[in-house]
């Protein structure tokens, strides 16, 4: 069977870049990834690009704008938006194009200039009852952090998650972030500083809620048979899954722009499905992972992911964190770039930023945050309305 490997990566630092456009950032990371792959743009046979929801029609056609900037070569351009899983879905599509034999090389890009403050909505009519996303803001007063806080609060009741645990996750993330030159926040925080920061939504303090960031990331993917032409260290996409929820849909009623839900067996249904699809395809289990990236929009989410990806049993995630198993030098370091906790979230680019970090780790290029001897890596994310993607990487 044809396999696909990542042969080039590029990233823009995460932060706020008022003087830039998403198209400039996409161009920068695309050129960086091509250079890293020792590949010319005109060797690329397919472009897969995340859409920037905050940049109008040109943002919806971000891939076409990028192709124009790089020079139109007539290749197919696929634009997609799947919330936090946008980059993962783009990579999934590129992977299918390559493994099906349709093309041999692909460029995958995602970037965005995000709004300041909490993510809102781009346009709304207050009385349009079919626009449930706007109505959740107007009627429930539910920003993203509201839903995250409720999930954290429930875990406190169910499994004894504490405010100190949430602070510990931030401390861990900030230590990794301090070692990542592309992270937005490089300071190492103490538990005390975190718990003394203003409350955003109980039990989440300001330093525990991920910011909204600008950023961009790019990946060059290639048929593994041709990968050696471009790099001595190809990273193979050993398994990849992209999933959406199955009815009854996950959630707690109105916090993912749906006002009511039938309680599902697990609220991260799609994230778990993506994970185990990727594991199955790669022929690995959670015990085989050397390094992992999960979607840490809050510390509580990171802790929940430990169970959802199977690196510990249900109800034991807090213990795993407290023991330091997911810190540098631990059994399975998680979010070694500092994650969303240290950089904030840039929706269309975030899944590709995860890929960037895992590829960097498997190449052995992660510097002071390098996980020694990492050979099997994993990244997963899940976002609005349950869009989710997961990838297993091997050297």
């Amino acid at each position: 069977m044809t396999e696909a490997a990542i042969v080039g990566i590029g990233i823009h630092p995460w932060g706020k870049f008022a003087d830039k456009t998403v198209h400039e950032m996409n161009l920068e990371v695309a050129q960086m990834a091509l250079k890293d792959a020792n590949m010319e743009w005109n060797e690329i046979q397919g472009l897969f690009c995340g859409q920037d929801p905050w940049a109008g029609i040109q943002g919806m056609l971000a891939g076409n704008a990028l192709a124009q900037n790089l020079g139109l070569t007539g290749i197919p351009v696929t634009n997609n938006y799947n919330a936090c899983a946008t980059g993962g879905y783009a990579l999934r599509t590129a992977h299918l194009y390559i493994t099906s034999g349709l093309i041999d090389t692909a460029l995958v890009v995602g970037g965005s200039i995000s709004p300041k403050g909490a993510f809102g909505t781009t346009r709304y009519d207050e009385f349009d009852e079919t626009d449930l996303d706007s109505q959740r803001f107007r009627i429930l007063g539910s920003a993203n952090f509201t839903g995250f806080a409720m999930a954290a609060q429930r875990r406190m009741q169910q499994y004894g998650l504490t405010e100190e645990d949430l602070a510990l996750q931030k401390v861990k993330a900030s230590k990794f972030g301090s070692l990542n030159p592309n992270a937005r926040y490089r300071k190492i925080y103490t538990v005390e500083e975190i718990l003394n920061s203003p409350m955003v939504a109980y039990p989440l303090h300001l330093y525990q809620v991920c910011a909204t960031s600008d950023g961009a990331a790019a990946v060059v993917v290639c048929n593994t048979k041709k990968a050696k032409k471009y790099t001595s260290k190809p990273v193979i996409i050993a398994g990849i899954g992209a999933s959406n929820p199955q009815y009854p849909a996950p959630g707690m009623g109105g916090f993912g722009s749906d006002f009511s839900e039938v309680p599902p067996p697990n609220e991260n249904d799609a994230g778990i499905k993506s994970t185990y699809k990727a594991y199955e395809e790669a022929g690995v289990g959670p015990e085989d992972l050397d390094v992992a990236s999960v979607y840490d929009l809050t510390g509580a989410m990171e802790i929940q992911w430990y169970e959802d990806i199977g690196i510990c049993k249900e109800g034991e995630a807090e213990k795993l964190l407290r023991e330091g198993a997911t810190s540098l030098g631990g059994r399975i370091p998680v979010c070694t770039d500092g994650g969303c906790t240290s950089s904030g979230e840039c929706i269309p680019a975030q899944a590709l930023a995860e890929t960037y970090e895992i590829v960097t780790q498997l190449r052995g290029n992660a510097g002071d945050r390098q996980v020694k001897g990492a050979r099997v890596g994993f990244s997963v994310n899940s976002g609005k309305l349950g869009n989710s993607s997961a990838i297993v990487y091997k050297t």
Binding site: Q135, R138, Q153, Y247, G254, S260
Partner: protein, 145 residues
């Protein structure tokens, strides 16, 4: 001064006076699943959808699944008062088998909220619109023992 009108935040999502406060939604005539707000068609992919949806009023009481207190104003179209006042948000499990979100009335002491406690549907002023009308929403408060 002209008497202020009370208008629902969305027409037909919940009952207005003189009826007691209840959410309005659908029950599928075929599979019996419940939906809030109303749906155009049953959303159960395994349902044969041979019978029409029925309009239903939901039970007023349910159990608290999770809660939080928003200390920062959500983005528009939330109408945040200035100065901002923190408010409670809850998820309630109704006996019909669905979870529904709602705010908590300002009169409730938010420190008293506990998972699994019994909550009831009430109507409260969400905000006052530009014409001075009171915009009403459903909310959930602990059942007074």
């Amino acid at each position: 001064m002209e008497t202020k009108k009370q208008i629902p935040c969305l027409e037909g999502w919940f009952t207005m006076p003189p009826e007691e406060p209840q959410l309005i939604g659908n029950k599928c005539g075929s599979c019996g699943h419940y939906f809030f707000p109303r749906v155009k068609t049953c959303r159960n992919p395994l349902c044969d959808k041979s019978k029409p949806l029925e309009k239903v009023k939901f039970s007023r009481k349910g159990k608290l699944v999770a809660y939080t207190v928003n200390h920062y104003p959500p983005p528009p179209p939330y109408h945040a008062p200035d100065p901002f006042v923190p408010f409670g948000v809850v998820s309630i499990a109704l006996p019909e088998g669905i979870r529904v979100g709602g705010q908590v009335p300002k009169s409730v002491d938010l420190d008293t909220l506990k998972v699994d406690m019994e909550m009831e549907t009430v109507r409260e002023v969400l905000y006052v619109d530009n014409e001075g009308n009171e915009v009403i929403s459903w909310m959930f408060q602990p059942v007074k023992s």
